[in-house]
Symmetry: C2
Subunit: 185 residues, 2 copies
Amino acid sequence: MKPSASPLDASTAEEPDGDRETCSGTDPETGVLVLDRFLPYRLSVLSNTVSRSIARLYADRFGITIPEWRVLAILGDSGPRTSAEICGRTAMDKVQVSRAIQRLMSARLVSRRTDPADRRRATIAMTAKGAAVYREVVPLALSREAILLDGFTAEECRLLDRLLDRLADRAGALAGPDDGAGGGA
Amino acid sequence: MKPSASPLDASTAEEPDGDRETCSGTDPETGVLVLDRFLPYRLSVLSNTVSRSIARLYADRFGITIPEWRVLAILGDSGPRTSAEICGRTAMDKVQVSRAIQRLMSARLVSRRTDPADRRRATIAMTAKGAAVYREVVPLALSREAILLDGFTAEECRLLDRLLDRLADRAGALAGPDDGAGGGA
DNA sequence: GGACATTAGTTTCATTTGAAACCATCTGCA
DNA sequence: TGCAGATGGTTTCAAATGAAACTAATGTCC
């Protein structure tokens, strides 16, 4: 049920400039934004559905949250790291990381050792208990990913892989230049 | 520093069943989860970056939040709707929608009319002011999408489109069957 | 050697969020 | 009628979040 003679026509500025006619998000007929074709929206819904589904998996069983799981995942794949390094690799901000570490520490899943050379820093490492949890969660997470990719050929996976990398790359362009603010890291 | 002889080998059930050898997320050498190749994680980072960038756009200028914008977007693309219908179409839950509507109402961007036939329901519609905001935000949002897709050929856009649709489809399988709980709509 | 800016990480506070409890209305149905 | 569910939507309360202020240790430059 389209709103008959759509209230928004050519009213607004910047013309679509011929060369690329926005392949999603907009109905070429009316120029209206079609929410469930709009790329940022689709990414958001998809990502939330997936994250929530995976989170349920380990939240129940191990009482850890998404940021906590991410910290474990980083430690598991790169070995002991400082808080700042974890920030850099997870796109979480330092507050989030700090809190995740606190909770992981009180659950005795990670330990923290102040760097004697620079006593502001501390290296975070998984404990044996943390590693055990990690080893249990990884296959669960991977199996979710596998469900998600079920039916994709290897070729399609590679394709998706490349497209996502390019999107991530372009997303950097969004965050950076225009608004000046935040900045990535 | 890789945990030498990776502690996670064939320990868990469901064998990878020959035909597809999980094309991302896992290092085939060690079987370790590589976080920044892990699809759910990549989706999450990408989606957050993008959403935040777009949100900055309208938060500053119009003082609306992401859920509020989504409600406007639905109303803009489908005309007046009830709260429940908005839920169904946005993948937000009813609390979120209820609050977004409240804020939009006090900003006089939408109005609410109780359905006389069923006085539990109310139909939400954009006001003229809401429509004006909508018309201003749409091109901003679309321009962000365009930046994101900059450099993609029409062919690649179509490809991405199809892959995302299939992923969204598969994501339904994640949410539904295993944990029984929530249930989609 | 000592003010000044930096960096690492934590804490505070106000806001947002989500789950569960809650109203109000409506729908069977005995 | 009248009462046991459903349903649409809102409120409550506790936990999660984010921005900005803060502590502590290091660097820097005179």
